[in-house]
């Protein structure tokens, strides 16, 4: 994917940094030169329910900081590009954008491995990228092309990546949480030391199946972490109008919970690390990520009829996850402002290239309409428009 330039003999820190910034997704690359440990404090303390919260001090290193910046910039750029593509009618159907919430995706990835599972709802583009998905496949899927991650049959809401433990992209609100608990059960059964993060939103928190899944997970000590991405609006409904108790981290009652500043990538990383350790030993935990989305619920929602523009711009100024990392990098002098701008330009170029490639890629073959309804070669008959005329055996 990336062209890694040969190291020049002079081995300057600057050239090293430039090389790091070229790598597409670099959540945990180890590099001898920049391994010094930096300690960062999370912006807010963790608030906990029936458990001792983890420490606010998070260890990191320059590599990680730079990679966080890059990864989140790619995610942000992707969502903004998807916005334009949707308006240009290259993406049709539904498109739910994640910009503003990047810290959750990136922070979570930093704390776990690709053998741990993540399952989420329909706001899944960036989670897919975080799991190692490529920009090309993401855009191809959005545009319904054959080369998309779900072969063009899923669309925006149904990104999957089996080899990286990403169990998708689900359209029905809340339905993915019991699924996540099932995945966790399988992990516990195989004793493979992995956990599953079942993500959902503040709207889904009021679904009955969540509580059913919670009870089962707690009863059987499943290594599942329920992550509520609380962006405070369920479509257009503010959380206080839909929930008697918007303290979603407490909703588990007998299941402990942690409230995390979801716009702070280090808080997310610390919480997920803590949660994974906990879940492997003791069973489920709820993480409430206090986050925010800049776009509306989906592309058909302007996002300004139920919240003020001041609120949106306020969050952008005070709590934007990418700006936070930028300030940290600049204050620790790990890169200059110009270099970070360069990175952003590179990211933009990368995204544009992926889009151009995806635009050229072919649509799926019409016969794909019938594939994968059942297991291949099962011999099930399907009927077309007229039962007597159009009959096919599903491939």
């Amino acid at each position: 994917m990336a062209a890694v330039r040969r190291l020049s003999p002079s081995f300057s820190a600057a050239s090293l940094r430039r090389i790091l910034l070229l790598r597409p997704f670099s959540s945990s690359s180890a590099d001898a030169a920049d391994q010094r440990v930096l300690t960062v404090e999370t912006s807010l303390p963790f608030i906990s329910h029936k458990i001792d919260p983890p420490s606010r001090s998070v260890d990191t290193n320059p590599n990680e900081l730079l990679s966080f910046f890059r990864d989140m910039s790619v995610m942000r750029r992707m969502e903004i590009a998807a916005d334009s593509l949707y308006k240009a009618k290259l993406i049709r159907g539904f498109c739910h954008l994640y910009d503003g919430q990047e810290a959750v995706a990136v922070g979570m990835e930093a704390a776990i491995t690709k053998r741990d599972g993540i399952i989420t709802a329909y706001r899944d583009h960036n989670i897919y990228l975080g799991r190692g998905g490529s920009l090309f496949e993401a855009f191809a899927e959005l545009m319904g092309r054959r080369a998309g991650c779900s072969r063009g049959k899923g669309g925006s809401m149904h990104f999957y990546k089996k080899d990286a433990g990403f169990y998708g992209g689900h359209g029905i609100v809340g339905a993915q949480v019991p699924l996540g608990c099932g995945v966790a059960f399988a992990q516990k059964y195989s004793k493979d030391g992995n956990v599953t993060f079942a993500m959902y939103g503040d709207g889904a928190a009021n679904q009955g199946q969540l509580f059913e899944a919670l009870n089962i997970s707690a009863l059987w000590d499943l290594p599942v972490i329920l992550v509520c991405e609380n962006n405070h609006y369920g479509m257009g409904t503010a959380e206080w109008r839909a929930a008697k108790s918007p303290a979603y981290y407490k909703r588990g009652d007998y299941v402990p919970g942690l409230k995390v500043d979801g716009m702070d990538v280090f808080a997310v990383k610390q919480a997920c690390k803590f949660a994974k350790d906990y879940a492997l030993k003791n069973g489920p935990l709820i993480l409430e990520m206090d986050t925010y989305r800049y776009h509306g619920h989906s592309m058909s929602d302007p996002g300004s009829t139920y919240r003020t523009r001041d609120e949106i711009s306020g969050v952008r100024q005070e709590r934007d996850p990418i700006e936070r990392i930028r300030k940290l990098i600049l204050s620790h002098e790990l890169a200059t402002a110009a270099e970070l701008k360069d990175t952003e330009k590179q990211v933009r170029k990368e995204v544009d290239e992926a889009i151009a490639q995806a635009k050229e890629s072919p649509m799926p073959d019409p016969s794909e309409l019938f594939t994968n309804v059942y297991v291949k070669g099962f011999g099930v008959e399907a009927f077309g428009a007229d039962r007597k005329e159009v009959k096919a055996f599903l491939p």
Binding site: G208, G236, A385, D386, K388
Partner: protein, 353 residues
């Protein structure tokens, strides 16, 4: 009509299932409005005329995602028109309880694709309430409204047509309008009917279908199909948005000299077997068309019943032009849908059988 199956030879009047014998054809005057406005008018009238009627669902307060409930909260207050949290099962159960206390509960399920968590409540609680309590209790005041059907870009979870699942449940009524004027009359009839009703609204037509709708209060009869066009060669039966596809097919095939009789079923259960049977006795051929997948769709019930009743009269097998037996696809929607050309093909094949 006699209940032959029970072997008791009880004779029941023809309009036994519809509880009203109201105006059949509303006067033609009225302003041209679209489907969501017609439904909005019906809801305004329903709340105005019955102080114990309530409208609730996800996001209905500001007007709803399809604007069907605009102005209701402002006019009737948040005690009668209110938002619910995101929990379909809860909404349905709550609505059934409210209706059991003698209220008119008009619940909205935001998309028919989301109705499945509520399926247990509707099938096991609502449909059987009167029956299992020996008529002590009933939830007749329950009406569940839900947008259904393809919309061009809906994909798997914003395009489904689940009417067949509900047609399999005795105790429920399922009603589907084809146009704004029909929608207003049918919805008011459903709300005032003393049985639980599931009312599916074709979402593609919310803005697209514009018709002159009378402004006053009127109802259309339930369990009565309407013959929209008279014909002599083949009977076409459909409902909802599919009727416009069938109409275009009728127009085109008329150029080849085939005369089609077009019937809008309107109420799917209990359905008007007499009208369809009378038409098939006239034409000798039947074609049923719906968006839901063909296997197990409601067309199967119509086909089997008509085959039973009109076997010797039929000149050709009953044709069903329906969605394919796959999940509702995303990019393949044009291939999946029962389009006009598929209908044309089948009409010609049936007529030339």
């Amino acid at each position: 009509m006699t209940l032959r199956g029970l072997g008791r030879g009880i004779s029941i009047g023809k309009r036994c299932f519809s509880s009203f014998t109201e105006v059949e054809k509303p006067p033609m005057d009225g302003k041209p409005i679209n489907l969501f406005s017609a439904i909005n008018q019906a809801l305004h009238i329903a709340l105005e005329t019955d102080p114990r009627a309530y409208v609730f669902g996800e996001d209905v307060g500001f007007g709803g995602v399809f604007r069907c409930t605009t102005g209701l909260a402002d006019r009737f207050g948040r005690n009668r028109v209110f938002n619910t949290p995101l929990c379909e099962q809860g909404i349905a159960g709550f609505a059934i309880g409210l209706a059991a206390m003698g209220n008119r509960a008009i619940a909205e399920i935001q998309f028919a694709d989301y109705i499945y968590p509520a399926f247990d409540q509707i099938v096991n609680e609502a449909a059987k309430f009167r029956y299992r309590s020996g008529n002590q209790f009933n939830c007749g005041g329950l009406t569940i409204r839900s947008p259904y059907g393809a919309v061009g870009h809906g994909g798997h979870y914003h395009s489904q047509s689940p009417e067949a699942f509900f047609c399999h449940v005795p105790g429920l009524k399922v009603v589907i309008p084809r146009s704004p004027r029909q929608a207003k009359g049918l919805l008011l009839a459903c709300i005032r009917d003393s049985n639980p009703v599931v009312f599916f609204e074709p979402k593609w037509l919310y803005r697209l279908a514009v018709e002159e709708v009378p402004e006053h209060d009127y109802m259309l009869p339930l369990s009565q199909a309407e013959v929209i066009r008279q014909g002599s060669d083949i009977t076409l039966v459909g409902w909802g948005a599919q009727l416009s596809v069938l109409e275009h097919a009728c127009d085109e095939v008329a150029k080849d000299g085939i005369s089609c009789e077009l019937i809008d079923l309107r109420t799917l259960i209990p359905w008007d077997k007499e009208t369809v049977e009378a038409s098939v006795r006239k034409t000798g051929r039947l074609l049923v068309s719906h968006e839901a997948p063909v296997t197990g769709g409601f067309g199967a019930e119509i086909s089997a019943s008509i085959a039973e009743r009109c076997f010797l009269r039929l000149e050709a097998p009953v044709a069903r032009i329906c969605g394919l037996d796959t999940p509702f696809p995303l990019v393949y929607e044009p291939f999946y849908m029962p389009t006009k050309n598929k209908v044309l093909d089948a009409i010609k094949a049936t007529v030339n059988y």
